[in-house]
Amino acid sequence: MTAFSLINIVLLAILVATAVTITRLRALYEAAMLAALFSLVTACLFVLLDALDVAFTEAAVGVGISTVLILGVLALTRSREAVTQRRRRLPGVAAVLLVGGTLGYASLDLPAFGAADSPVHSHPLTEVYLHQSQEAVGIPNTVTSVLASYRGLDTLGELVVVFTAGLAVVSLLGPLRRRRPTRPERPRPIADFDLADYRVIRVVSGGLLPFVLLFALYVLFHGEYGPGGGFQAGVIFASGFVLYGLVFGLDRAQRVVPHAALWSLVTLGLLVYIGLGMATMLLGGSFLDYDVLAPGNPATGQHLGILVVETAIGITVASVMTTIFFSFAGRGVSR
């Protein structure tokens, strides 16, 4: 047994145990924290499976954004689950048996895990993405080149999905109109816990904030050479704002980035991405064909295109995530 499989088995065991515990826990705060742990272990497993970009994203999304959102919603709603009624169990068990049977049946003909001669690795795609991309696109991180260039449309679709989520949350939770500039009429209850009253956290988070934002920029522009890219950068950027909002209060955070400006940024990223596609069409190429951006030097064009795309993703993701957080948090304030 190699070290690889040993670590693998341990991580898988932790994952299964966590998942089972989550299903059994009725206290939802605990379940949410365990879900975060689950994501963290998953991220470790992704690293083990050579998927650094994915691990990075899972860590940022699963441990960061998702957990913050779930905890926020728990604060707004109820944090204890009712006992699951017996009659609800049957459909679940039936579905699990059916799907489990199908998946087990499917696994009988799956190529062995990690095999070099599986269809995935012997398809000509592998050669093109891993080696020809070095001349055609010319950046070492093949995940970035496939993401932003070969499958650029998928990534545009992904950005549209993020945009839709932003729209959905704002349409459901507001704020659709300008928030009242005055403080709430009734005085804040004593038990209400305001982080800004603590000097330690104010100093530490204030000191960390520039580094968080700097790191986001590093991740954004380093995505061509190492793990990272627009999405991860956007999430980190947003988490910086979320930290600021949590510590210094929503009002101050919204004074730093007003709602209208945030909305313009949300649309800006998407418009830049689609606009880039339109521009390549006007220059005589097809949609998102970056080669035409630098005539005679395709690799430069690809570089430029990918940089623009990553920046556009970063802008929209950061502003959508911040908007979503403000929407949830603002809902709490308004009640």
Partner: protein, 134 residues
Amino acid sequence: MIASHYVYWTFFALMLIGLYVVISHGNLLKKLIGLTLFQVGVFLFYIGLGKRDGGSAPIISDGVEVYSHPLPQVLILTAIVVGVATLAVGLALAVRIFEAYGTVEEDEVVERDRADLATGHDGHQAAGRDSGGS
């Protein structure tokens, strides 16, 4: 078979645990957590497909010959984002449901709708809430 496929089987087990939570639990938030588990199982499955024995991350560097496949990783990056977007929308809906019904248990919500039907109340939302504003 066991040595070469146990990883896939574990991923499938994770998916099934998530699926069970989604279907059988009545709490809307728990359902969403279950959906996340279900999705993560699928993500792991995809990444597992791209893994190659002795391979390293698909970032081309000198002296490395064997790489894992980048395509599944790209797909899953997209899928993770789709997953968190769905989660955000679902959570926003859960908050609104709580505000409209005072509960996030599916069975209780259905009960209250039924009571509405019996009393002839139309379920119109109050004008202030309907605008979604604060």
